[in-house]
Symmetry: C2
Subunit: 748 residues, 2 copies
């Protein structure tokens, strides 16, 4: 891209609402045009309206800032953060200084006065951002709008022949949804404080604004309670957040315009509470920490006043720590038979005319809502609470099916959508990206699948929500009740060192779904921008690229090349077969270390994605030589060599036996890919026999992928290595480019 020195006559007009023109100009949306190269900023989420200018604003060592009006200290800190991000992206030490006059500023912020209620659900995040080669102008009516605009500025860095600059651009932006969250389960595996803290930086970068902390579950009560000290004292094995840490987290989040919503999950998922307070339980204790075959679940006893008194105190204490008015009470998966089996609970139900387990939970949730109301808090619950007769202000978080979005909004409920955004299902970014929060058919079982579940133990919380409202619709009036959505990471099989790799960069795709206009849907464009954002996040301190590699490296210190090559080609099996196997395997299986290839592998292999993008680009540009083609060859060569490399490690590294068949398949795939690449480079035809074995393997892998799925994963054990190959797509693309057959006769 030709870079010109600052001039002022390079501005272009503003564009329509979907950013299409810029997207095409920048090569962001269409794969048939040249892809994003150095010099083009990869914006993610895509703004509502955007027009690229032709010049760049050179980045120097001083950033004079002018605040139009009193400078909110929170915004001053945000500008300091921007300067640090720009410094990290350029290596230029950047000093923020107040400009003497507006004219002398490089960054002019027409911002609001300090907003003491900030951040809140109704914060105005809209803003106008104009970058020209002489400066940056950012206008917003609210604090949140300034923060979001600054996050965009950090994505405008382009390298030039002379150094670094910010791309000239005109942006008018506002979010589609006000609630754009990330839920992290801190209970199943504890998430150390510093790991949690760095998520805030990544969230700010992609304009997420709610951190939902699942703080309690059977496996651990992760919050210090001074009122009920045995909650964290006996229910967390020493791994919990102190109140000081929570306060620091909330402060840091507020600085970034991120609300923190606590979740205290009840009445199920409460075993950790009962270790210290067995008197709250339906079944008599004792309860103990750790996997326990005798106690697979534990429910609070909703018939005892003591339980509500306990909860009242807990809600009061938690509310002092989390200023946000929303308070998540869980309410999911009350599936165990404890209430049915308890004579005293049954007697209570009879006495009060409570018909069944669901009605009893509704009774509990209503009592809890009254407690929350008393403490100035609004109830949020998982979609089970939809039927609990709550007052109108309660918020429903859907997870079992998109049909529940229709049901909840039809019932006049505000709704937060997580169905389709479960990060622990191990899906590629494109799967989540395709889910529109307002589409009642976007996520859930097919009717015949749901029908097949009827009467099975799974049906209680997976099936019923799916079969209901088969013809569900979401009207425009109902859409207005959809507050937004949350990516959700459950951590049964996610340790601290795996966490970043399971959250990022995929969550950026969900962030775009929640921020950008509905019409921004080109997943190929999104994936290209995701690769850029991934590196940006790594620079911010996230560890999703480095930690997984370190996990592989330790399997064979100093000679892990073959393992790393295999790692770059595999992804953990989708959905829940790994989890089911672990949960069903008894305490030993539940305590088994998460240090195998399936744990190091990430749900969307960035290396496989980079290869696919390279192949697409080489084909689109008809390149048969050069760095891109060399990169394709190097990657395929490494993949082809993984099998023999693994063989050379036999006996000296753990878990190799289970990987051998995968490496063998990869060798065959890569060999065929190299045959096709040779042919492509020479302009020659591929001899079909030379790729027959490759096509056979590709066909077998595709068939296996087709047979997999959410329901199947609940009942079918995973393959031994618990990973699948992510290499097929790029190889097929190469075969196609070289004019080779792309399916084996057997499969066709």
């Amino acid at each position: 891209m030709p870079i010109s020195r600052p001039t002022l006559d390079q501005e272009a007009g503003v564009l329509g609402p979907n950013g299409w023109r810029l997207a095409c100009v920048l090569g962001l949306l269409a794969t048939s045009v040249p892809p994003t190269g150095a010099g083009t900023p990869p914006l993610l989420p895509m703004p509502a309206e955007v027009t690229a200018g032709a010049g760049v604003l050179p980045i120097g060592s001083a950033l004079p800032v002018w605040f139009d009006g009193p400078a909110d200290p929170l915004l001053q800190r945000a500008v300091e953060r921007l300067a640090r991000r720009l410094a990290a992206a350029t290596g230029i030490p950047i000093r923020v200084e107040p400009a003497a006059t507006a004219d002398r500023a490089l960054l002019r912020i027409h911002g609001p006065a300090a907003d003491l209620r900030f951040p809140s659900l109704d914060a105005d995040e809209s803003h106008a951002l104009d970058v020209i080669p002489r400066g940056i102008e950012l206008r917003a009516a609210g604090t949140a709008g300034v923060l979001r605009g600054l996050a965009t500025v950090a994505q405008l860095v382009v390298p030039t022949a002379e150094g670094y600059g910010l791309q000239s651009i005109t942006i008018r932006d506002r979010p589609r949804f006000a609630w754009r969250g990330l839920m992290i389960d801190t209970s199943r595996h504890f998430v150390p404080f510093d790991v949690l803290v760095r998520q805030l930086d990544a969230m700010e970068a992609v304009k997420l604004n709610v951190l939902h902390l699942h703080l309690t579950d059977d496996e651990g009560f992760r919050l210090e309670s001074r009122l009920h000290p045995k909650l964290h004292g006996e229910g967390a094995e020493g791994e919990y957040y102190t109140q000081d840490e929570i306060r620091a987290l909330v402060t840091r989040a507020r600085d970034r315009g991120i609300r923190v919503v606590p979740e205290i999950d009840a009445p199920a998922h409460t075993k950790s509470w009962l270790v210290g307070y067995p008197q709250l339980a339906t079944r008599p204790g004792p309860y103990r920490m750790g996997p326990d075959d005798a106690v697979r679940s534990a429910l609070l006893d909703p018939t005892r006043e003591e339980v509500y008194a306990f909860l009242d105190g807990l809600v009061a204490e938690v509310s002092t720590l989390f200023p946000d008015p929303f308070f998540h009470v869980g309410g999911d998966e009350v599936a165990s038979p404890e209430w049915d089996e308890s004579p005293s609970v049954q007697a209570f139900m009879k006495a009060h005319g409570i018909a069944d387990r669901r009605a009893l939970q509704a009774h509990f949730t209503r009592r809890l809502q009254a407690i929350l109301t008393r403490h100035g808090r609004t109830l949020v619950g998982w979609d089970e609470v939809l039927d609990h007769g709550l007052s109108k202000d309660a918020v429903v978080q859907t997870w079992r099916s998109s049909k529940l979005v229709a049901r909840a909004t039809a019932a006049g409920r505000r709704t937060v959508v997580s169905g389709g955004y479960y990060l622990d299902q191990g899906l590629p970014s494109t799967a989540h990206y395709a889910i529109d929060p307002t589409d009642p058919r976007a996520y859930g079982l097919l009717p015949r699948e749901a029908e097949a579940l009827r009467g099975t133990p799974l049906a209680a919380y997976v099936g019923e929500a799916n079969v209901l409202d088969a013809a569900a619709v979401v009207t425009p009036a109902q859409e207005a009740l959809v507050l937004g959505g949350e990516a959700a990471l459950w951590t049964e099989i996610v340790t601290a060192e795996m966490l970043d790799g399971r959250v990022w960069p995929r969550t950026a795709a969900i962030a775009e779904r929640l921020w950008s206009p509905r019409s921004v849907r080109d997943s190929a464009s999104m994936q290209r921008r995701l690769l850029a954002v991934s590196r940006d996040l790594e620079r911010l301190g996230l560890r999703h690229e480095v930690d997984p590699r370190l996990m592989v490296e330790r399997m064979a210190p100093g000679e892990a090349d073959a393992l790393l090559a295999l790692w770059s080609a595999v992804e953990p099996v989708r959905f829940y077969s790994r989890l089911m196997k672990r949960m069903m395997g008894g305490p030993a299986a539940q305590l088994a270390p998460l240090n195998r290839m399936a744990d190091a592998a990430v749900p969307e292999s960035l290396e496989a994605l980079r290869l696919r993008v390279d192949v697409e680009d080489a084909v689109a540009r008809k390149e048969t030589a050069g760095p891109r083609v060399e990169r394709i060859r190097a990657r395929l060569t490494a993949w082809r060599g993984a099998r023999s490399g693994l063989e050379a490690l036999q006996g000296r590294a753990p878990g190799l036996a289970e990987l051998t068949p995968l490496a063998a398949d990869l060798e065959v795939l890569a060999t065929g890919g190299l045959v096709a690449l040779d042919a492509w480079q020479r302009g020659a035809a591929v001899e079909p026999r030379a790729v027959a074995a490759t096509l056979a393997v590709a066909g077998r892998l595709d068939a296996a992928a087709k047979a997999a799925g959410y329901l199947a994963s609940l009942t079918t054990p995973p393959p031994p290595a618990e990973v699948e190959l992510a290499a097929v797509g790029a190889v097929r693309e190469l075969l196609r480019a070289a004019g080779a057959p792309t399916a084996s006769p057997a499969v066709r």
Copy 2:
């Protein structure tokens, strides 16, 4: 390596003092035997006495610990740290628990009672460590010995086919020197607190025990002073350590058995003091922060009582923060003419019979020593203070020449050696490793070089120390006065993101020089172990491998392959030509960002080293195929492709023009390397003409390297890119293996 399940009859006898037998068994010391493979723990520093056993102790999720005697909380925290390191190295969550009886413990510590004076220079660091397949036994007379033994345990992790274990081993260890330090200049570029903190983890891992903080210099006074608040308030541009941070650092260091020695450098290097307190200066102010052509240096006025009163308060305040009895007062480089030019200073000298500038500094240092003594502190100074007539307890830190080790110890001074251990000179680990602290000829100018300097401005602080005592010797009695040494990093051209890459892993080589017996000197063995330690440190949180790559990546986001390939083959030019160019270039040059290839490049390219090791191993094992050979091919192929890759980036990334000639040389080198590799694999002869161009380039590069050197770097400007190629060694080795000529006729 065959791994057997735990048995008890596998212990071997203890070995002689130099660890030779184990070293050979493990392939650590000799390059002619098979190199370290998975299954062999790479110990660094090498212990004094060591014998490997045949089995492994399997690592599980519980670590029952038995303390023989009362358990010092400091040691309990150290065991927790060990568990975290083992967890990070294996992916196994490890819980430390007190063993019910000694028999049931996996780790038995026969430790000392809590030592309140700890850490101190006379702490006993010796220990005995026995790992057998049933458990770990660690015996030490002092807290420090336990800490050092635990650091060794963390290096014993070996992967096995079944999982992970600790190598059976018998170790009797003790350090050669009691003072093993790392000095970091926090002034020239500020070192953020978290960057400083993680150095402690790395130091503990390689058994360093002194963190020497150069806290003040012209560029910044980095310590909060409540007594003289304008020191950090006006002399640090907001970048300084709060007293709370210092206390936290010292506490964290103490936990790791690391003393923290503050350096307050005076009377030169004090410009930052004078911004707030110009009344202390020799020349009238005002002084201002930042590069300033008018004020290149600034000296305190040693003739004014006010200066000593100020220092007295400062020493008292600093002493409350740093409990260590040693206090570094700098004292180096009083080279500016200010004292000579000041009438009042000249009058004072005349009145007091002070002959010259050096004698005046001696007067100052003696006054300062009296102040330190009053506050219970022992003076440490750079080797200039040797002639200042100080009382006997003062410690001299040598830097200009190893001859000063002889002079200082001959004068009865305790000595800490840094000459030869300056990390900012950009030397490979082997250069520092070859310097024995007690060898008076180990480091410094050749006599004829020193002679050539006579009368030049450089001579004052470089030359004189080198020409003195040409026949210097260090007798055994003098050796006893050598307390140890310190690796030293000056940060004129080292930013926070570069710091880890400039310190690690090279400092581990210096750590071995200071810890291990003098006889441990095989640098090829050290470099192999260094590669393993490097990954271990990265897992501990150090960023020397990831940060430099991120620096390169930002030059061409998403398409930096060619730049990364070039990066892996280059090292910054040695010694000081980069620094001199920058310092002589005026304020603009001094403020230029450090974001080029020369800044991202590390002084010892680990990738080039890995290639060299691979080539040596392939040759030694006569391997012509397999993963190692594939790795060699992949690396050379990437190097060969860097030039065309850079060409494809032209105009879109900064600083490419200066890199083009390097990439062209690298292409020629790698092409020849690939010719040789082909021949090696086919067992065929190399056609000399096919490598003639390669030999010509290699010859030119070798000649250039030969012409470079410390003195030359002070007077000769660097090449435009300020890097040199590190690729020659491995290519020559390949040529040799393939029976090709290894020198071009022109050079031969």
